[in-house]
Amino acid sequence: MTEERYPINIWINEERYEKLKNAGLADMCEEMLAGLKVLRVYCTEAQKDKILKVFPTAKFDSATTKSIELLPRDVKDKIFDKIVEKKSVDIMEEFLSQY
């Protein structure tokens, strides 16, 4: 059975979109909710639990979207920068290793 994975939605504002375009990664974005651009970074159950512990403002939306929300913006910026650096959304293990 495939392990359940939970997304962090990195919503793409203008600043982030510029960075993605400059890195040639604009195609990595998905479109959701009538036109919002988003990068979805998936976490394992263990990574989800660690995130909720390390960042107490974060919330797992268990009822509606099954996604990890309300990470502080600067933390999301760091995750975003790591994605741009690695040109991949598969970065959570490395990102969380520093915490």
Binding site: N13, E15, L33, A34, K59, D61, T65, L70, R73
Partner: protein
């Protein structure tokens, strides 16, 4: 006969004229109260909590816990309690039979006739009311924080609260609100319970509930309204600030997504207990007192975490409906379907694989990331107002921060008695 509220009891304001109050409070022992108790004093005095006339005594508390009814048989689901420590009782010298003066902001607020002083097992309260004794349940945490003695007895407000801007137009007590409904010609009014800035999922919950409530009524003139009754109480960091909640809810009317003919926003002072089904029953009583005929309930109404099933509240309301003077209206979730290109109900659309659900939490996350959501998801007028509120009231943030908690203007003050 006056206005009839929850449980078939007449709504009577328990408020003393200032001239009489000045005399009555002379020589009474002054006991300061915290914001939760001040909120509940207002609710009792203005009739939001009809038929309660004061804080509960032991028999009512026990009956509410075990039978979900007051001792007079009226359905009531949440204990309304006033607590003091042994030390406070001793310091103030309070005993049964005394009349005391409750103060807030250092000024006289209400007199209380202390009929009873008693202790009660807080764990037992939690088990009955919240279905758990876990401290991480916010309702249990609040219960465990009560001091060790409960004081039961009638309350009379001696000093009306001064509601501060921008909240002042939204504080409309039950008797006044019922008058306004009559002036509008509404024969049915459906409640929308909220502690949120509205996204279009909320807007459609209201629109759906309005349609359900309209039912078989004639349509030649507007007969049905939605009352957004925002709960204003204790804030947690990360919540939307109160000013954004109340003003943005009203913005849906002002910006034309609703109109004066079918939409109104008011507030009730209450610290949420997150008691799920029991809180749903409490909301039914509260909104019946406000003069509402219907109450919208979505999934997991007033729940928290995974303590309650998504439809537990609906089941409890069905069990009690003969004793509630309000009709529950059950609402399915609204979501965005890219195939339909619109907000739709999960009970209508069958593009299930394409559905994109969204929640208040997701919208908060989008706003926090500095992104303006599309108008199908979040109305631009609401977004602009959220940002305006952040600057005007939130010290730069639409969400509650330490700075907001420390420096905000209170929703109400109790001023010196003139």
């Amino acid at each position: 006969m006056g206005e009839i509220g929850h449980g078939g009891k007449e709504i009577k304001e328990r408020i003393m004229a200032p001239s009489e109050a000045k005399e009555k409070i002379k020589g009474l022992t002054a006991v300061p109260v915290r914001s939760q108790i001040a909120n509940e004093i207002i609710d009792i005095a203005y009739g939001f909590f009809t038929p309660l006339e004061g804080f509960m005594g032991r028999a009512d508390l026990e009956s509410v816990c075990k039978n979900m009814r007051l001792t007079n048989g009226v359905v009531w689901s949440i204990p309304i309690l006033f607590d003091l420590s042994d030390q406070e009782l001793s310091d103030y010298g309070i005993k049964e039979g005394d009349t005391i003066l409750l103060t807030y902001d250092g000024n006289p607020m209400a007199i209380m006739e202390v009929e009873e002083i008693y202790k009660y097992d807080k764990k037992e309260i939690c088990q009955y009311v919240y279905g758990t004794t876990e401290e991480k349940h916010p309702g249990c945490a609040r219960t465990y924080k009560y001091k060790d003695n409960f004081l039961g007895g009638k309350i009379t407000l001696v000093n009306r609260p001064k509601i501060n801007p921008p909240f002042d137009p939204y504080f409309v007590p039950p008797l006044e609100l019922r008058k306004r409904f009559r002036e509008k010609g509404w024969v049915r009014v459906v409640a929308h319970q909220t502690r949120n800035v509205p996204h279009t999922g909320h807007e459609w919950l209201m629109k759906g509930a309005w349609l359900q409530t309209y039912g078989e009524l004639p349509i030649e003139k507007p007969l049905v309204g939605v009352l957004v009754n925002a709960i204003i109480g204790e804030k947690r960091k990360g919540d939307y600030i109160d000013e954004a909640i109340i003003l943005c809810q009203d913005e849906l009317r002002k910006a034309g997504y609703f109109g004066d003919h079918n939409h109104m926003t008011t507030l009730t002072f209450w610290d949420m207990r997150y008691a799920g089904p029991r809180e749903a029953v409490f909301h039914a009583a509260l909104r019946a007192n406000l003069g509402l005929t219907h109450h919208m309930y979505g999934r997991d109404h007033a729940g928290v975490g995974t303590y309650y099933g998504p439809y537990d509240a609906h089941h409890m309301l069905e069990e009690l409906k003969e004793d509630l003077s309000i009709t529950p209206v059950y609402s399915m979730n609204w979501l965005y379907c890219p195939h339909c290109g619109e907000i739709t109900s999960e009970g209508l659309c069958n593009h299930r694989d394409e559905w994109q659900k969204f929640s208040g939490t997701v919208i908060r996350s989008i706003v926090q990331d500095g992104v303006k959501p599309p108008k199908l998801i979040f109305r631009p007028e609401v977004f602009d107002l959220v940002m305006e509120c952040a600057e005007k009231y939130g010290f730069g943030s639409p969400f509650v921060t330490d700075e907001y908690l420390e420096k905000r203007t209170p929703v109400f003050n109790i001023l010196p008695l003139e």
